[in-house]
Symmetry: C2
Subunit: 320 residues, 2 copies
């Protein structure tokens, strides 16, 4: 293996000069530059990237934490991050956590050890203390409102969005509104729950726990929801579903069961994924690719942390 020293010797210059040529630094005379390049082409020199990393203390690697890979929500988010990463010649290290805290800590430790230059956490399970503990080792970016904490974020105001959606349904005559969600804990879920509670306080209704469905992630989860709904003596007239995939599943299952949409059950999805358009599902648009892009840019940003709220648009279609 030839290294930079060999090249220097062969080209009759110092290693500094070779390094300058390699990194396109100024102040190298044209003749020496050419000599070096000629020698490099003649040899099969390959820069040892790990030596570069050691020397520079950076790896051009950005960590991305997601709970699952096989979900369109995270798939799109990654798509957005990856598209942008290509432009900046950064690579992504994927941490699939399955919501196990240890996996998340491993990612944070890689930040600490400088094996990754920054960390994007798309969905968090660990506490703020943990985030703060590792904050000093490199940029951490979150996909949730982190104002007041010491890290950048691109986020949806889930409280506001959920509240608005509830009001929208209420204004259209729905007084029994349920919702479907993925996790029942987690920052975003808790904001939504709070919005749900506050909304019920405002309209002076009490909450019916049977109208809340957790563990709703995928298309197929819609079936379970519909089956549960059918068992209720007094079912909700509208459902806020925090994923278009689940909404599509519910819609499909309802059609099979001859439950009329939106008359017997109104459905409002989330995300505005292609499936929502195709199935004419009323939904709240969450531009995941764009969010992914912004998360990435925040991750490589060297200056102060900042926060970017993404505004959610209501897309009116045929299921409400």
């Amino acid at each position: 293996m030839t290294n930079i020293k060999d090249i220097a010797k062969m080209a009759g210059v110092s290693v500094s000069t070779v390094s300058r040529v390699l990194n396109n630094h100024p102040y190298v005379s044209e003749e020496k530059k050419e000599a070096v390049l000629r020698v490099i082409e003649g040899s099969n020199y390959q820069r040892n990237i790990n030596a570069v990393h050691l020397s520079k203390g950076a790896t051009q690697l950005i960590g991305v934490v997601i709970p699952f890979s096989n979900h369109p929500y995270f798939g799109l988010l990654i798509e957005g991050i990856a598209n942008e990463a290509v432009k900046y010649n950064k690579k992504l290290v994927l941490f699939q956590t399955n919501y196990e805290e240890n996996r998340e800590i491993e990612a944070l430790e890689m930040l600490q050890h400088k094996q990754i230059d920054a960390l994007i956490i798309c969905s968090r399970i660990c506490g703020w203390e943990m985030i703060n503990e590792y904050r000093s080792y490199g940029p951490i970016v979150l996909c949730e409102d982190s104002r007041g904490h010491n890290v950048s974020s691109t986020f949806i105001d889930h409280y506001k969005t959920f509240f608005k959606a509830l009001e929208y349904l209420h204004n259209r005559g729905h007084h029994k509104i349920g919702y479907c969600i993925g996790r029942n804990s987690g920052a975003n879920s808790e904001l939504r729950e709070k919005a749900y509670r506050d909304f019920h306080l405002k309209v002076k209704k009490h909450i019916e726990p049977k109208y809340i469905f957790i563990d709703c992630f995928n298309f197929v989860d819609g079936e379970r929801v519909v089956k549960s709904l059918m068992k209720l003596s007094d079912p909700p007239s509208a459902l806020l579903v925090t994923s278009d995939q689940v909404a599509a599943g519910i819609l499909t299952c309802c059609k099979e069961q001859n439950i009329l949409i939106p008359n017997e059950l109104a459905i409002m999805g989330f995300d505005n994924q292609p499936i929502a358009k195709m199935m004419n599902i009323t939904t709240l648009e969450i531009p995941l690719i764009e969010i992914g892009k912004k998360l990435f840019l925040q991750a490589i940003q060297q200056t102060n942390q900042f926060h970017e709220e993404i505004v959610v648009k209501l897309i009116e279609r045929g299921t409400v």
Copy 2:
């Protein structure tokens, strides 16, 4: 920043001894070991992982090449790879190529530069020459039949599978069979096309190009297929759909258009994803999680390359 030298000095031993303790090498006396560990706990020493990489010439990073992130096929594959990676304490570097060859070459170059220890290519765009060129730098593993080439693989015999599926449909009285596929080039697609051609030769029918639909990746692509079908004066009576997602989309759209399944159109999916079970779609089971697992194991395997064929099971349900 304290380094191994500082620790050695503080513990009154040599750096070699500290390194031995750090790596659990034998031949360190209990007392020195404890002394070192005490000093390490007292300081906030963090091993510089990039120095370890430089020294060892390995990074515990495995590259994974996929075309898109937001597709259940690749999502599940990654899920399988990631689940296994956790067990071996390896991390994954994701290369989303969008089927751009340059992205793939970047991944191969990272293998060459030893920034990753091995590379799993889930769907390939570059040629065999390219693979062979980089083969010597580290294990490359493919998700396609690579027998005869110098790399390990876990694969489906797509020719055999496609042929069998065609025969199955044929035996059930279908004489006009079309198919939907993602790419029209690519190793697996070509095998399928060949099976399709050979099958038609065997049953002495000529091929109707209008029965072939490309660019079918997602649920929503099903709509396009159905709309095209409806325009045909002599539509196929059965469709082989190389993704359950697309099959589900076609099924959903057919129901809307009152096309009876399987009477007017038989549909056979691929993958046996949860959605196929839910929508009662006849399909060919491809155990993606398991394939992912095997791909990973082949990637970290140090010995000779080997090939593992995954057998595809037909799951009979209600769409044929």
